[in-house]
Symmetry: D2
Subunit: 243 residues, 4 copies
């Protein structure tokens, strides 16, 4: 069954920064949509902070997995939308894939339970190490791959210990960073992936593309008969089973 | 060195419900303060939703470990206070011990990353099982202890998998519940403990008292030279080490 | 692609105990093989301690997922075979699904890192609770299901904290037990499932069958280009990337 | 109460390798014993593979925390001793601190549930990063510290995901390695620490010494009334509580 993916991108750098425009002429969101769309099993839509395509209730409620890229305008994402996304993940099983600078986004913080604090620096060479080759998100990924130039993110990264730590990265200036993190959150699943600075061709990288695609399949809503959580009052199971 | 504990209690049931007043004449917060104060190493203050003692900035900033009991008035806790508590835990190392119905409190949800959803029912007998006897919070606790009557909380409990699952409870109506949960959250630590319904003498129980006290020691701010997270820009460690 | 499953059963109770023979006329291994074989994507073979079908090197090396049921003859499993199974899981990606009394088997202990100690008692009613509805092993499983009669296993269960705790069980005598456990072990994956006492019709239960089948898919060898671990001496990645 | 520590060192390099003899004139075990003994709360003994001081049953049974350094003679450690150590940890609460090349020791493999496989290389500069500043083993440790020269250990490290990942290291040749790992194993606790190649002055480093000392306190046997696991048959708790 097809998985409905929405790629949300703040979309501001894409319009103002020449380096970004050169790499992603139609915006990062459309670039990601394009490579994902080579998979016929994925139905991909996009939305941005300023539109014209917005993350409306209708689109959000029709989304199985939400990808999120934001950087300079986290504060402009309305609190009401953040709460809807949180409920959609934790209660309605939606998958959530925050990318790169989304570590400081409101949805990431609220859903994961983190301030997203880390240290950061200028572009350096990055080596992404595969710590859990048996994990579905690591499917088809070698022991390591490198990115010529990527913005340094460094520890301590103030995150909860991930349920599964899939990738950890090395930067040539001495920093390291837990870069591929799986979290179970309520009825939904979250995968954070660190590479993705807007002025580097990160989303062009074949392994980054593969990982994002693997993550969508991992995070897709589970096929479960367990009902939507509503904190209900219940009755004795023992009595029920005696009938 | 003394640990400064603040016991925050919504405090409404304590004033209006006769069963609660009989068990906790000066409120649950003062009862907890009293048994904790037998430990000379703990400095215990209290605060409630309506006062007169409030969780002021001054008190919050002078708190090492915050206990939290709330039930019918979660929504009345101001969002600004919730954010201050969140930062105090994740950035300033404060320990946080949400008790019982605090699973639906705003601070619990924001800090842990959960809606706190579960199922619930009337009073039944509860057996609390010790799953991790080697854990400091289980110090002095036997394989199990029971509570004659406690409000049933049941799974699925929509929490992140705890870093350490210390206790899990059995209820005589067929329900179970992960009842003692440790979480590392940023620079701070959280321990959620389920027993504590206001009309049952739960806080009178010797094991419950011991667990709460163990948890305070576990959750107390770490002695660490790592600076307060501020998401700073940093420079090459390799270059720095060459000097 | 088809998954090759081998069901290993000690096979002694099946030959000597009338209650077991009534439930499983051709042995538990063949009963499990039969229900699994309704899935065309599974190629299922069996082996027992005494034969005629044995877990030869040839069969073991051609096994993607090994199910293991043992009880009274753990000590008769040769240490050499245990080591081969351990390597096959941790180095060669084989999935391992120990069932019920296999908690005391040599492979379980060596692979998981546990003595398998627990407490146990006579048959009681069991309710299996689904703690992680979003997990693939919980696919199609409701919030709970019950088993009329099953041998009680109780905590403390001396296991490592599972990577994913999928199920926990309630018994009507007051015991609880973490009954569905996922572990990542080297290049392989392990799922332990507690229900399965030989004189109860456990493997006839539709949910037990579904869980075992889900677990086979979860534990099947990952599709990974990461080579077989050999603890090799390696060289500078930085130098390699400069070429 | 004093903690009884035994430092076990294979002790072969110490006798044959001049570089090691220069750094550790009385062997690594006595060097570690000396710095630990500055803490009056620790009673430290030593034992080696070849003696004269051996890890006798008497010494092992009188050990609260066992440190283990081995490299070229893992195979010479008798299986019977390995089993005794395993039981002493998992059943009798002993703490176990495998150091450096002990990742390939028999006790590490049996207790943790791992082949200990990794990749390795020649000495490079190492930076040890502190991922969990709130953890007791990280007490007094800064965000990072460096070791001028240390044998490279690299991922993938075929270990179970640690219960707590305290440290991860960076090497200047591009490798990274999860270098400080906490595991709960039965009634006992394990902390693996990677730095410690025999021809480098690793144990002279103040932070390495601090971490080992912190780890001893963390891993020391818990103060618990839970009895020694014996896999006993038990009876109905519900019936017991009715009396």
């Amino acid at each position: 069954m097809a998985i409905k993916v929405t790629v949300w991108n703040e979309g501001r750098h894409d319009k103002t920064n020449d380096a970004v425009k050169a790499l992603y002429p139609n915006g990062m969101h459309n670039f990601i949509k394009d490579f994902l769309s080579t998979d016929e099993n994925l139905i991909v839509r996009t939305a941005t902070l300023d539109g014209p395509d917005l993350l409306t209730d209708e689109l959000l409620n029709d989304t199985d997995v939400l990808l999120w890229w934001g950087h300079m305008a986290h504060h402009l994402v309305p609190d009401e939308l953040v709460e809807k996304i949180r409920i959609r993940v934790m209660v309605d099983k939606m998958g959530f894939i925050p990318l790169h600078s989304a570590h400081k986004s409101k949805p990431f913080q609220a859903i994961v339970g983190s301030t997203g604090d880390l240290v950061w620096s200028d572009n350096r060479m990055e080596i992404v190490w595969n710590l859990l080759p048996s994990h579905p998100i690591a499917e088809g990924i070698p022991e390591y791959f490198h990115l010529e130039k990527e913005e340094v993110y460094g520890e301590p990264f103030m995150i909860p210990q991930p349920d599964e730590l899939v990738f950890t990265s090395w930067f040539d200036d001495g920093h390291i960073f837990r870069s591929g993190l799986c979290y179970y959150r309520g009825m939904g699943k979250v995968f954070y992936f660190q590479p993705g600075h807007e002025t580097n061709p990160i989303f062009h990288n074949e392994y980054v593309q593969k990982i994002i695609r693997n993550a969508i399949y991992w995070a897709a809503p589970a096929n479960t008969p367990v009902p939507r959580p509503t904190c209900p009052r219940v009755y004795s199971i023992v009595e029920e089973l005696k009938k």
